[in-house]
Amino acid sequence: MAVISYREALDQALREEMERDERVFLMGEEVGEYDGAYKVSKGLLDHFDGNEWRVRDTPIAENGFAGIGVGAAMAGLRPIVEFMTWNFSLLAFDAVVNSAAKIHQMSGGQYHVPIVFRGPGGAAIQLAAQHSQVPDAWYSHVPGLKVVAPATPKDAKGLLKSAVRDDDPVVMIEGELLYNIKGEVPEEEYLVPIGEAEVKREGTDLTIVAHSKMVHQALQAADTLEEKHDLQAEVVDLRTLRPLDIDTVIESVRKTNRVVVVEEGWPQGGVGAQVADDVQREAFDWLDAPVTRVAGLDVPMPYARNLEKQVFPDSRHVVRAAEHVCYLDQD
């Protein structure tokens, strides 16, 4: 296994899929000549001999180029549309939700829309309210879409490759703060199936459910819980938000009887609310404590660093929530 960064993993997936299938192309702001705002597509345009049809720089017109992607997909191509960040996808919400997600159904199954919408979601550092939003809940609410949010280089590469090969529209939410993290990635070709969660750490005392950046906070919290209380936390990485692999979560909860759901986004109507709902319904009799959640605070992200640190959920908060569901905070 090679150890590479999340960014490199995405780059490998892009190159491999674009080489494997010439219908695959990348389109978005700054993806070509500028190597991508976050350098995910570094050198890609040159790699394809400067062919602008394969790597297309667009104007700042999210709804327009997302719609172009939908049309190209209907006409037989397999577009990868990059949103420089998901915050800007709010301008393309119509193209993604009203068109991409519905055309297969509205046409009675005649037209497929094999398109991937991808880019970083969530907060980076001090980008303030308009640039720090988590889109997970908005998109995973929508039937017709599939939504993935990988936490590691291995999952990022494997899920992007699966997304490109999927015949339905896939929303892939990455993270600016994830691009530099490193991890092991198989040398040989592999895919990570859409719709399968993964147990990232085995445990018996409680279950911590997380996705994307929060998986790392969860793993850190698990270590702390082991040191501090000799508790073995099991960490389930959802990896895909739609379809949601709740079976893996339920299986874990039936073993641990306690669960903490962690997410970066806003709490009301967050992804964790659905997980909590499913767990309380499907594992009611196995729960020794209510499902507990850790999320970003219910506010637009403030700029000041000290405030942002408080709003953004981290392992310390997960530890407290875990202590609570294990009734270790009674004093």
Binding site: G64, I68, G71, A72, I103, H104, S107, Q110, G144, D168
Partner: protein, 354 residues
């Protein structure tokens, strides 16, 4: 679905001015398609009244020359995409009246299997890409189809029809800029019937002639034509198609036409926004009657031919309605059938109590 060989539209210079040098067969076809559209929608209106058709039902009566003049100029392998006022476009492209009517009735034999309804007619085998109900949303989609054509280095064309209101929206602007900049083979055809629902376009558009909106985009050719004259539309669209095929450049054509009925079957044909008189006046200028008169004057058809054709299309439409009525309603299983292309685990996991 009908097409035409190159020389048909070229014809000889002399005739260009007149009937565009189209042969009799083609001229009859154009007339017949307009008549079919009209009779089909008369039946649709009746079926809506009797409750066989539900939802929004937007009729095209009065605008037939636009769909017929444009779509008839395409090759089989070209693409067509349009808005929610899409029955006639579907018929002209060659979808069977039975399949269109069955779709309106919400039955399995509908061209979208009863899933889409009036606003979402689709037929992949004819490259008929819908039927889109969000105003302006299909304008970028059409550019994407053009993108795929250039990508594969083909000489195909995408024809995109839309209403006048679309020209005030962001998607129109973003798509036009990219279609022009990327040099995409798209023919944008605006069905300017002067109204968006109950709003006169002149009340909300800061431009006299919508065709002038093309001025903001280099490479975007534009012109206005009489949308009540099927040959005028045909000629303008043919030129745009040639430009798209040969030079890979987009065009914007504004066709002035008129909608006889209300915005949808739920709306009055006239009222606060336009008078009965105005509607009556425009009916005088009917595209079918005008073209019929013309073909009779030019000796292309006789009165009798016309009556015969009319009876033909009436029968065709009646047959379509009977067929649609016999066609079964979709199974409940179809509710999940078309949401995703492939497998989706436990798709009904949270769908309880039905």
């Amino acid at each position: 679905m009908a097409t035409k060989s190159e020389n048909e539209t070229k014809g000889d210079p002399k005739e260009e001015a007149g009937l565009l040098g189209l042969d009799e067969e083609e001229l009859r076809r154009l007339l017949r398609l307009m008549m079919l559209g009209r009779r089909f929608e008369e039946k649709a209106a009746e079926s809506y009244q009797t409750g066989k058709i539900g939802g929004f039902c937007h009729l095209y009566m009065g605008q037939e020359a636009v769909a017929v003049g444009s779509i008839s100029s395409l090759r089989d392998d070209d693409y067509v995409i349009t808005a929610y006022r899409d029955h006639v476009q579907a018929l002209v492209r060659g979808i069977e009246p039975r399949a269109v009517m069955a779709e309106l009735f919400g039955r399995v034999d509908g061209c979208s299997k009863g899933q889409g309804g009036s606003m979402h007619m689709f037929d992949r085998s004819l490259n008929f890409m819908g039927g889109h109900a969000i105003v302006g949303s299909h304008v970028p989609i059409a550019a994407g189809v053009g993108y795929a054509i250039r990508y594969r280095d083909e000489d195909r064309v995408c024809l995109c029809l839309f209403g006048d209101s679309v020209t005030n929206g962001g998607p129109f602007h973003e798509a036009f800029n990219m279609a022009a900049k990327f040099e995409l083979p798209v023919v944008y055809l605006c069905e300017n019937n002067s109204y968006g629902m109950g709003t006169d376009i002149s009340r909300v558009a800061a431009v006299q002639d919508l065709a002038d909106r093309a001025c903001a985009y280099e490479n975007m050719a534009s012109c206005s034509v009489d949308g009540m004259d099927v040959l005028a539309v045909r000629q303008a669209v043919q030129e745009a198609i040639d430009r798209a095929r040969e030079e890979h450049l987009p065009s914007f054509i504004e066709a002035h036409c008129y909608r006889y009925m209300g915005h949808s079957m739920a709306d009055p044909s006239h009222g606060t926004y336009r008078s009965r008189e105005e509607v009556e006046e425009h009916r005088e200028d009917d595209p079918i009657l005008t073209f019929r008169r013309r073909l009779i004057d030019e000796g292309v058809i006789s009165e009798e031919d016309y009556e015969a054709m009319d009876q033909e299309v009436i029968d065709e439409v009646e047959d379509a309605a009977e067929f649609a009525d016999q066609s079964p309603r979709p199974d409940f299983a179809d509710i999940y059938e078309y949401v995703y292309s492939g497998e989706y685990p436990d798709i009904d996991r949270r769908d309880a109590w039905r």
